[in-house]
């Protein structure tokens, strides 16, 4: 770790929700580290509930592997606008629940050609694969940006 600072860089503005630092002072960073700990101890930092998707709608279930693919495809398009097959930088974090065998596949999913693949597992779902897959597609971190207007 580097020591012996020659100068300290200045952040013009750093707004962290209701915790706003807009002016620099010599103790800014020391103050911030300590204050962040106090802040998160004293003030609950709420997350959001998971959001279930099916196709381009909120809620519902899927019944084929193609429908899982379709749901993830719609979410990727909503999130990124356009997608480039095989780009593992364009991933979406989903939990896919198989309700027949009671298994949950969680990870970062991306498209490679006509197949939905997961960075963390070998599970995959292909376009037009009509094999039964009764399950739920879940966004654990809640509503995905770009799907606000979906119903």
């Amino acid at each position: 770790m580097a020591r012996n600072a020659k100068s300290v860089l200045i952040v013009d503005s750093l707004d962290i929700e209701n915790f706003s630092l807009t002016e620099y002072d010599n103790d800014l960073y020391k103050y911030k580290i300590e204050d962040l700990f106090n802040l998160i101890h004293e003030t609950p930092r709420f997350g959001v509930l998971p959001q279930i998707y099916s196709g381009a709608t909120k809620g519902g279930t899927v019944s084929t592997r193609d429908e899982v693919f379709d749901t993830a495809y719609e979410l990727l398009i909503a999130s990124f606008g356009s997608i480039e097959a095989g780009d593992t930088g364009q991933t979406i974090f989903l939990s896919i629940l198989d309700t027949d065998i009671q298994r949950l596949y969680t990870g970062n999913w991306y498209l490679e050609e006509e197949t939905l693949k997961c960075l963390e597992s070998s599970e995959e779902f292909s376009l037009e694969d009509l094999t039964n897959f009764n399950g739920i597609v879940i966004s654990p971190y809640g509503e995905i940006i770009g799907t606000e207007l979906w119903t």
Partner: protein
Amino acid sequence: MARPSGLSKQTDRIVDSERFFIDKNTELFSITGKTYKRYLNDFFNASVSYYFDKTGDIYVLCLERGNIYTLGKSILTNVGKTTGILEGLVVMLESETETSNPYWMYDDESVLHFVGDSSEELYNSGDTTLLSEPLVIKTLSRLLPFTDSLYYKVDFPEELE
């Protein structure tokens, strides 16, 4: 990657190539903007561990299988979930030595289901069987809404890299 919204956008103002110096406990550390940004994001998006009870300053872990049911059901109820497989949450189970992969946790007829990537764990209401090791229920990120009345601790990122 879709991550919790809000904070990450705000900390985007920190430029990756900047270098920051942080006076922490009288020691001066230097970190890049990229690392600092990740630290702040990790801090505010930190997981929360829910405990079964609290005695004085001591947080009590789940010791019996029924404790897991009680705690998990409390979490589900507080966030407004009822029963059935659609009424679940993504959580992890954590012992003192290990954190599980994510589970889908839901209640069905007084049995709490934890559906994972390789198994399904079932915890029955009132089951006094001792767990093989004490457990807490942990979120992927932050405190779940309306659960601040439960016993919880935020899992801070301890060290700057």
